[in-house]
Structures are given as structure tokens and as C-alpha cells.
């Protein structure tokens, strides 16, 4: 018979429909309303996987987010999802479920041998064992640990699903749809506030779904149905089931994940519907009604399949109509687990005993258990368990009066289910995310929210109020307070709380771990963090080895490191650490709670902001297609795609570069310079403004002329450079480096707005408005003359570093006579949309002269031959203008940004690094390595370390013009060391040799650009 552990009636499942699914290839059945965990339990399957380190058999412990063991892999191929928590994953028809972390199978796991070596795998084992030899870590230890320890498998293909993001503003955001959350929503919603309520489960009701009680004389789920129906009618209320609030940030910002189609199949059934949706909610008021998580008791061998939290057992019975066993023992230190004993008893499970650590339990629930003639072993504890792949018996002993020792005979009880309760921990995670603190509550023996975060209210169980009537009252009150604070009414809630059954406190006796019969180190393991195989002995070891802070103990033992983030074990761990440290738990505290509350997919965080369309846009010039058609390879410069070089058939890269360089030096080359940053600087104070930004003077620059300038940070270091032209008395056309454009604009804006707000200057980015075509080489004048009208290109009429207005290919143009190659050169600027048309005309006109397109690499070689810097390549934020030999650009007539820093003692040190040229002398045709460190030690590789450094190579190329390799470098006192030899030790053992030269290799008089 299928589903042998399913009850004939009850629960929130649809028995009329059957869902087929497989677990590790085995065909099984469940019903709508099931989670993977409840369906497996209904089929009598409790062994789900193996533990992380010791590969011990592990089963379902909880019924929600706290479960540490039930990680499964769902689906296959590119839509497979690893490490889903079976307790939170809804079953769908045709679902494929597999265990993780076991090989070759869950029942026979080869790595299980680890548990026999367990004494060799204590806390801190990774740190101690795998430290030596260091080189082994990456190559041997880490891959093997990962293979042995890995959980699920990530899909290898790209994600077929879509993920959306949506933004929402509301008055009251309520997290949790249990009694407190629903009450809060009702109160705030009735007052007309915009309410968003989310709950991680498939239906609203929270803990009420797994509970037997009465609200207003009705079973809890009927009360839930009535409330939900009313909320659905309220126009300003949004209800979001299957939605987890995974992060709570400052100022009312809450991140939610709505699982839109996860319950329907491995992928969304309709490509237009996202699989998951991220809600980014900005709320005036936040009500947290996140409930509480039951913590288990800690005893020897407490990790066997069949050992669960008591509340989970009740939830499986009441909500899913599944009994997780046939013969049960309940082990507790408080009243709440007695309800589980009654739930089991009422549904035909034999309760062999309630083992209660309290000497004299009493109360309504206790009386009812006695009335059902269930044996109660007061003042006793479960000290050990037996079982192979499933629990088969528990061992019980009497506790001494202090609860720190054991006495009497061991009593053995056969059973297949142990329901344990060590008390309840409020789910304070979201309270803590934005900085909320907690305090230790002696009576509840747990942490509860301390002073509230502004505009955040915790209500119900997450506030330490575990009684149903208390949750309803606090929820109503929180809804009222939040709505009032958001401006919606201020009525009293007196007399509006629905009636419930009689509730008493849980009357807990704290017990962080059961005493052991032998010394702790020689006793069977008492697991604290089940997912990470972390035990009470590990905590004692950490304390013995000197750890005091709970944050350090956590990191040393890996407690709470798992995907469950210690929801089950961390408070127990803190309690045991307090015992080991001989301090109060209140003093020890707990570790920090950080987002995400439960794991979220990368897809959700990315949403549709992926790829080059929406995450990292690609910028292309107007001539991009031409470059593609002419075989250009591209280089990324910032977001720009720039032609790198244009290889012809059969050419190596160096051959292409040599061809491009020589064509430009001997005839004419054409370069797309459109990406250069361009800023329109305009206003009556524009000249004065440039005077403050640039190091040189700009006021006397005539209209129609250009000038090279460098700008410094206030620390005196070179920030950017470029040529700017005076277009009119009150207007300059500034150019910047391609990558620096946005930074320079922002920098100048900041000074204008904050320091010089009285200056009349306006800055406008015009980078995208212009196409810029650079034509360089001795034949460039012939080419531009053929393309342009209305411009006299004679040397006298159109001198170097000036510009003219005219027409290029019929298009209004600015033509600059400037040069970054050292050759005679012109740059035609036209409105961007005409770029291709003008480029075509230049290309056509250049054909008789053998015009050659060149890219950024040739541009770099040409400028390096001339010793021109590239800001950001030859400078690195620690280089000032004197280092570059640019003394002549530093005005003495005015102040400018960074000037004062140039006289600081460090700026005028004699042994600063200078910008120089290098020519390799060992192998003149072979370029030095860019970035290579330079030293004066010819045997640097064999010399004692550290070897004193003398500088480094910033740019290095083979120069076809010179017929040998050249390099630019920063060398300590380099200008005083001309013709000296310097060495570049290489990683392969060689030491390169080079001569220090002037950085200007070619045409040092600058004749070629001035013809």
C-alpha cells in the first residue's frame, strides 16, 4: 500500500488528487498540499541524506525553515535546483527528487567511514590539518574536501527561467501570516492602511495550520479562512503567500522572494511568468510576526533519523495527516511537547513515555496526558539512542537534583520516533537585521527582542509571547500601533481579541545538554549543529583552546555555518558555550543575524538586470559596424568597444601592428577617436574655472586654439589629461581620457557645486554627441583637404594646436590640428549621426595614399615612441607631474587644485620615481614585460629577499619605427640615471637587461607634427 503513514482523514491535503514523484529514482505518491518532506514521511521514508563531515545518516528533523538535514536536489539539467529544503518545498506532479551529499547511494555511503575516524576530525580540524605544506591546499586538500563535503550540484547550463523585481511602497509591512500577523493585518487593513502581508508557506495561518485549538469557538483553520476572506476584500491589502522576507534593512526596507511557480514544476509553465519575483518593499511601519522555532534537546546520538522536534511531529500530524512513526517517545523540558504526546495518542501512535527533565511537571496539558494514561517519566532524560539507518530505541536515566548528573539504572525503550522539545526560540532574525538587539529572558531561557528598532514592532511568538491568546492580542495591538503611526486611526482594541482555549506558560526548565555517563570527550556525540556535525564536545574544545567570544567559537567550530544558519542549534550552542566558559548565557550572547533569512537564488537577486543589455551596457561608436566589417578585433575600454587592431589574412598580431605603425609613419592612418571623453565647459567664468582645474594657464588661450592640460587631485597626483580647445570667449571643448570622462565630469561638478557655487560655469557631457575621426601621417593633409570644404589646410593658415570650422563630406565639422602620434595629424569632429558618412568619405579620399585603419594598440605604440603618457597606465595615482617631467605645465601665476601638495616634503623627494624610457639590451627585439619590477641587482632572482626595487615597467612594445623594442617605465631618480643598465627579474628565472633612456624615442625635436 502506498503512503502507509498517511492518516485516513484530517490535514490540509487534497486526497482526491494524487501527485506522482520520484525520490532517488523510486516512484512515490503524495497529494496537493504536501511538502516533499511530508510526502516522504507519508511513504515511510525518513533517511534523506548524509551529514556534511561524518556522513552519518540523517532524516527530517523539523517542518520548516529550521530543518538542518532535508536538503534535496530537485529536477534535472539546466533547471535543476540544489539544496532545496524538503520541509519547505511543495510537491508537484512529476517531481524528481534526489539526496545530496552521499555517494554512491544514500543507504550505502562510502564516506561514512569518516565517522569511524571522527576522533580525528574535531573542531578546527580544517585549520589544523590542512595547513602544511601550503602548496597542497589548492591542489589537493581543497578539491578533495569539496568533493567529499559538497552538497547539491549546481546546474551547468544557463538558467531557463525569468526572474522579476517589483517595487512597492506601503504603510504597514507585515511579515508572517500566523495568528499575530493576521490579527495585525486585520486591524491595520480595516483602518484603510496600505498593508502588505507575506508568509513563507503555501497558505496563510502559520503555526495555526499544525495546531489543534479553538479561536472564537472555531478550529484555527476556520478562523484563518474567515480572516483571509475579509483581508482579500480590503482594497489596500496585498496578501503574499509563498513569499519569504529574506532581508530587513534600514528605514523600513524589506526584501521579499515570492515563489511564483516553484510549486508548479521545475521551470515556469509559461515563459511570460517569472519563476520567482523579488519584492522590494519600502514601508512606513514594519510588523514582525515571524513566530518561534522550537529547539531540540541535546543528548548523545541525537541525530538519528526518527528524532524530530515535537512541534514538527504535531505539524505533520495535524497539517499533513502523516504520523512520522508508530511508537513514540516524547522528551521535553517544558509543557508544549505534552500537546504533541496528545496529538500522537489521538492519532493511533503509541506513546511509550513522556520523558520530562522537570521533577514535578504539572498543568492542564500534563493532566490530560496523565488522563490518557501515557507514562510520564518526570526528572528523567534521554541519555543515548540506538539504531542503524533509523531510530530503534532510546536509553533513559534519572537526573540528579541539579540536572548536572545522572543516577539509577538505564531504562531502554523501543521506539521509532523521538519528539523532543527544549523550549522555543523567537525568530528574531528580521528584528536583528537592521541592528535590533536582543536580551536574554530567564523564564523562557532564550533571546527575545530588546529595545525596538524605530518603526518596527515585533508581535507574538517572535516577541517571546508563545501563548495563542497572547499572539492574537499582540498582533491586534501591533496592527493598531503601526496603522496609527502611519496616520490611520487611533481606536482602542479593547474587547476585539477573539477568545481561545486556556493557555498557560510553557514552564520551562533550561537544560542545554543532557549530562553524559562518561567524560564528554569519551561519550557518544551530542550534536548541536546537526548540518555541520558540530557537537557539544567541539564547543568545550574551542573553549579549552582559548576561544572566549561566541563569534570566535562559531567560526572555530563552524557552528551555524550551514544553509540553515543555525536556526535549530545556535541558542543551544550558546548555552553550552556559557557552561564551558562558566558564564551566564546572557553574557555570552549569540552570533550576528544577517540576511538572507533563508537562501535565495542568484537569479532572484539579478532579476532581469543581466548581460550587456541591462547589467553592463556596451557602448559602440557610430562607425562600429565598419570596424567589424573590416575585421577589427575589439578591446574594452570602460564600457566602450574600441578597435584594437585590424588583422589581415595570415598576419600575426605583431605583423598587423608593424603594418599599421609603418603605414601611419610613412603615409596615413585613420583612427576612430570618438570614445574620447568630451565635456562642454561654458559660462562667463569658464576660463577661470579651467585655470583652477588644470595646472597650466587657460585665460590667455585665444579662441580657435588648443592646449594640452593635466589635472591633479588635491593630493597633487595626476588624475587625467587631455587637449582642450577654446571655442568662444566663454566656451571650451574639453577632452578627457576615454575611461576618465565620467569621473572628471563628476569631479568638476563637485567643485562647482560645493566650493565655488558663485562661479558661472555649466558643464555638459558631449562625448556621445560627436564622432571623432583622427587622420595621422605625412599624407594626412592631402586626405583632409580632399574631404573638407571651407578650410585652408596650409601650415601657416592652420597651424599646429588650432582648430577650424568647416564642412567635411558636406557635414558641419570642427577640424582640430592635433597629434597623439607625433605625425602631422588632424581630427575631424562631426555630429555623431554623420560619423559613418564622413568616415566613408575620408576612407575614399585616402585610398590613393594607402590609408590604413589602426586601433588602440597601434595608437599606444605611436604615442609611446613619442613618450606621451597614458593617464592610468603610466600613472597610477601616486605619480605627480614632476615625476613625469612636466614641470613646464605647472603655472606659477595662479593657484590650482593639487598645487599646494606639490611642495609637500614627499612630493619633492630626490629619489622619487621618474618617467623614463627603456631599451632592452639583452634581446633588443623582445619587449620587456609590462608591469615587470625593476632592480639594480643583476642577480635579483638568486639574491636574498627582499630585493630592493628601483621601479617598474608601465608600457612596453615592439617599435617597428625604431626597429627594436621600447618601454616606458617609472624608475627611482631615473632622470639622473640616463644610459645606466637596469634589470627586470622574470618569473621564469631569466633576468632581462635594459638601458635607461629618454622617454622620447622618435623625433625628439617634434618636427614631424609641425610641417
Amino acid at each position: 500500500m502506498s503512503q502507509p503513514y498517511r492518516l485516513d482523514e484530517g490535514g490540509h491535503i487534497d486526497r482526491d488528487r494524487t501527485l506522482e514523484f520520484t525520490f532517488n529514482g523510486r516512484r512515490l505518491q503524495g497529494h496537493p498540499g504536501d511538502t516533499v518532506a511530508s510526502a516522504l514521511l507519508a511513504n515511510g521514508i525518513s533517511l534523506l541524506g548524509r551529514s556534511f563531515k561524518l556522513h552519518r545518516p540523517r532524516g527530517i528533523v523539523g517542518a520548516g525553515a529550521e530543518d538542518p538535514n532535508s536538503l534535496v536536489q530537485v529536477g534535472r539539467g539546466e533547471s535543476t535546483i540544489p539544496n532545496l529544503r524538503a520541509t519547505q518545498t511543495e510537491l508537484y506532479d512529476g517531481m524528481e527528487v534526489r539526496s545530496v551529499n552521499c555517494w554512491p547511494s544514500v543507504k550505502f555511503d562510502l564516506s561514512a567511514i569518516n565517522q569511524w575516524f571522527a576522533p580525528l576530525l574535531p573542531a578546527g580540524f580544517y585549520y589544523k590539518t590542512f595547513m602544511w605544506p601550503r602548496a597542497f591546499w589548492h591542489r589537493i586538500y581543497e578539491p578533495r574536501i569539496r568533493k567529499a563535503a559538497g552538497f547539491g550540484k549546481a546546474p551547468t547550463g544557463s538558467d531557463p527561467d525569468r526572474y522579476d523585481k517589483t517595487n512597492r511602497h506601503c504603510d504597514v509591512m507585515i511579515v508572517g501570516g500566523g495568528p499575530a500577523g493576521l490579527s495585525a493585518a486585520l486591524e491595520a487593513g480595516r483602518r484603510g492602511a496600505r498593508v502588505v502581508l507575506c508568509d513563507e508557506q503555501s497558505e496563510l495561518g502559520g503555526g495555526l495550520l499544525g495546531m489543534r485549538d479553538f479561536i472564537d469557538g472555531k478550529p484555527p483553520h476556520e478562523w484563518v479562512r474567515t480572516v483571509v476572506r475579509e483581508l482579500e476584500e480590503l482594497p489596500e491589502v496585498t496578501l503574499l503567500p509563498r513569499t519569504t522576507a529574506f532581508g530587513h534593512y534600514h528605514h523600513g526596507f524589506v526584501s521579499l522572494v515570492e515563489r511564483v511557480t516553484d510549486h508548479l514544476g521545475a521551470t515556469s509553465p509559461d515563459p511570460r511568468i517569472p519563476r520567482q519575483r523579488q519584492w522590494r518593499v519600502r514601508a512606513r511601519q514594519v510588523v514582525l510576526a515571524t513566530g518561534a522555532i522550537e529547539r531540540p534537546l541535546v543528548f548523545c546520538n541525537n541525530d538519528r533519523p526518527g528524532i524530530m522536534t515535537a512541534s514538527a511531529v504535531s505539524t505533520y500530524i495535524n497539517r499533513y495527516a502523516v504520523t512520522p512513526g508508530r511508537r513514540a517517545v516524547v522528551f521535553c523540558n517544558n509543557d508544549s511537547a505534552y500537546q504533541t504526546a496528545l496529538d500522537l495518542d489521538d492519532h493511533g501512535v503509541k506513546v511509550e513515555a513522556v520523558v520530562d527533565v522537570r521533577p514535578e511537571p504539572k498543568g492542564v496539558l500534563v493532566d490530560r496526558v496523565y488522563k490518557e494514561e501515557i507514562p510520564v517519566l518526570a526528572g528523567h532524560a534521554v541519555v543515548d539512542t540506538r539504531g542503524g539507518r533509523h531510530l530503534s530505541e532510546v536509553h533513559v536515566m534519572q537526573l540528579d537534583a541539579e540536572g548536572t548528573g545522572l543516577q539509577g539504572e538505564v531504562r531502554t525503550i523501543e521506539c521509532d520516533l523521538l519528539a523532543s522539545s527544549g523550549g522555543w526560540n523567537p525568530a528574531v532574525h528580521l528584528h536583528c537585521h537592521p541592528g535590533g538587539r536582543t536580551r536574554y529572558d530567564e523564564k523562557l531561557a532564550t533571546l527575545v527582542p530588546d529595545e525596538p528598532v524605530p518603526n518596527v514592532i515585533s508581535a507574538g511568538a517572535c516577541n517571546g509571547n508563545f501563548k495563542l491568546d497572547g499572539c492574537l492580542t499582540e498582533g491586534l495591538s501591533a496592527g493598531a500601533t503601526a496603522a496609527s503611526a502611519a496616520g490611520f486611526g487611533d481606536e482602542d482594541i479593547e474587547g476585539r481579541v477573539p477568545g481561545t482555549g486556556r493557555h498557560e506558560g510553557i514552564r520551562l526548565r533550561p537544560l542545554w545538554r543532557v549530562p553524559t555517563r562518561k567524560a564528554l570527550t569519551r561519550s557518544p556525540k551530542q550534536f548541536v549543529d546537526v548540518q555541520n556535525d558540530q557537537t557539544s564536545a567541539d564547543i568545550f574544545l574551542a573553549v579549552r583552546e582559548g576561544y572566549r567570544s561566541i563569534e570566535h567559537i562559531k567560526r572555530y567550530t563552524a557552528m551555524g555555518f550551514g544553509t540553515d544558519q543555525g536556526k535549530l542549534g545556535n541558542i543551544n550552542g550558546a548555552g553550552i558555550a556559557a557552561e564551558a566558559l562558566g558564564r551566564d548565557l546572557a553574557e555570552v550572547g549569540t552570533t550576528t543575524f544577517r540576511p538572507a533569512y533563508t537562501p535565495v537564488t542568484m537569479g532572484l537577486l539579478a532579476g532581469r538586470d543581466i548581460g550587456h543589455e541591462r547589467f553592463e551596457p556596451v557602448r559602440k561608436t557610430a562607425m562600429h559596424r565598419w570596424h567589424v566589417e573590416h575585421g577589427a578585433l575589439f578591446e574594452n575600454v570602460g564600457q566602450w568597444k574600441r578597435p584594437w587592431y585590424y588583422p589581415q589574412a595570415g598576419e600575426s598580431m605583431q605583423q598587423s601592428l608593424d603594418r599599421e605603425v609603418l603605414a601611419t609613419r610613412n603615409a596615413v592612418g585613420i583612427l576612430d577617436a570618438s570614445t574620447l571623453g568630451k565635456i562642454d565647459v561654458r559660462g562667463p567664468d569658464a576660463a577661470e574655472f579651467l585655470n583652477r582645474i588644470y595646472t597650466n594657464g587657460w585665460k590667455k588661450l585665444d579662441v580657435g586654439r588648443c592646449r594640452y592640460g593635466i589635472m591633479l587631485g588635491e593630493d597633487g597626483m595626476v588624475m587625467d589629461d587631455g587637449v582642450s580647445a577654446r571655442v568662444a570667449e566663454d566656451r571650451y571643448h574639453m577632452t578627457t581620457t576615454t575611461g576618465g570622462a565620467a569621473r572628471v565630469l563628476a569631479w568638476m561638478e563637485e567643485w562647482l557645486q560645493t566650493e565655488w557655487p558663485d562661479m558661472k560655469v555649466w558643464l555638459t557631457s558631449t562625448t556621445d554627441q560627436w564622432s571623432a575621426i583622427s587622420i595621422a601621417g605625412p599624407k594626412s593633409r592631402e586626405v583632409v583637404s580632399a574631404v573638407c570644404e571651407g578650410i585652408d589646410f596650409g601650415h601657416e593658415a592652420f597651424p599646429f594646436m588650432t582648430f577650424q570650422h568647416g564642412k567635411a563630406a558636406g557635414v558641419p565639422a570642427r577640424v582640430f590640428r592635433i597629434s597623439f602620434s607625433g605625425e602631422l595629424g588632424f581630427e575631424i569632429n562631426v555630429p555623431a549621426n554623420y560619423g559613418q558618412q564622413v568616415w566613408d568619405a575620408v576612407w575614399e579620399a585616402g585610398q590613393p595614399h594607402g590609408i590604413t585603419p589602426y586601433g588602440t594598440e597601434t595608437m599606444h605604440i605611436l604615442r609611446a615612441e613619442k613618450g606621451f603618457i597614458i593617464a592610468g597606465q603610466d600613472t597610477d595615482g601616486s605619480i605627480n607631474p614632476m615625476d613625469l617631467g612636466m614641470h613646464g605645465l605647472l603655472s606659477k601665476q595662479k593657484d590650482y587644485l593639487g598645487r599646494r601638495s606639490l611642495s609637500r616634503p614627499d612630493a619633492i623627494r630626490e629619489d622619487r620615481e621618474h618617467f623614463v624610457g627603456l631599451v632592452p639590451t639583452d634581446d633588443p627585439n623582445s619587449p620587456l614585460q609590462e608591469g615587470a619590477q625593476l632592480t639594480d641587482n643583476a642577480n635579483a632572482n638568486d639574491a636574498p629577499k627582499p630585493v630592493p626595487l628601483a621601479g617598474h615597467v608601465t608600457s612596453s612594445y615592439y617599435s617597428a619605427t625604431m626597429g627594436h623594442a621600447i618601454a616606458l617605465a617609472l624608475v627611482r631618480s631615473g632622470r639622473e640615471r640616463m644610459d645606466e643598465t637596469i634589470y627586470a627579474p622574470m618569473a621564469d628565472g631569466r633576468v632581462r637587461k635594459a638601458k635607461i633612456t629618454s622617454p622620447v624615442f622618435y623625433d625628439p625635436e617634434g618636427k614631424r607634427q609641425n610641417v
Binding site: 526596507f253 563628476a746 561638478e749 557645486q753 611642495s903
Partner: protein, 93 residues
């Protein structure tokens, strides 16, 4: 994610803004009058208080205007937003 009131555009998410640095640090009128130590103080030294901090933000993905804010560095609560060139409401402490 902080919620910030741009004096020009109103309340917006933090992701639209960029943090600048401490506010009310005026560039010296005559840098030459400063000793190296005084210039270094202007250049490098910033307060890092626990509590009230006066700071400068820019609405990068909005109006691109700079403005000042008073923020409690411990609670992240903004106490005020005000224009460049103005003093915070109630003055600076």
C-alpha cells in the same frame, strides 16, 4: 537600504545616491599660508564619530546635485538634509 531625502527631488532609495565625504570642510582660501601639517590636515584628516555625523551626498542617478545630511552613524537615522552652503538646522555641535 537607506531612505534619503534629496532637497531637490524628495525621498528616494539609497541606490540613487553616492556618498561623498564629511561635510563642512572648506578648501583653504590661501593654501600657501598653511604649514605642511595644516595642509595635510585639510587633505587627509576626517572625523569618524560614533553618533552625529555631518556628511555630503550626491544624487548621482537623479538631479546630480550635492547636498548635506546629518546622520547618526550608530543608528543610521538621518536627522536632517540641507543645501550646500547652509548650516544644519539648529547648528553644528
Amino acid at each position: 537600504m537607506l531612505y534619503i531625502q534629496c532637497p531637490w527631488c524628495g525621498w528616494r532609495d539609497e541606490s540613487e545616491f553616492s556618498y561623498g565625504h564629511e561635510a563642512h570642510i572648506a578648501r583653504p582660501q590661501d593654501p600657501d599660508a598653511l604649514s605642511d601639517a595644516e595642509w595635510a590636515d585639510y587633505l587627509f584628516m576626517r572625523t569618524n564619530p560614533r553618533g552625529t555625523h555631518y556628511e555630503r551626498w550626491v544624487h548621482t542617478a537623479g538631479c546630480r546635485r550635492w547636498f548635506n545630511a546629518v546622520r547618526d552613524t550608530e543608528s543610521y537615522e538621518f536627522k536632517a538634509f540641507y543645501h550646500i552652503g547652509e548650516q544644519p538646522p539648529g547648528g553644528r555641535k
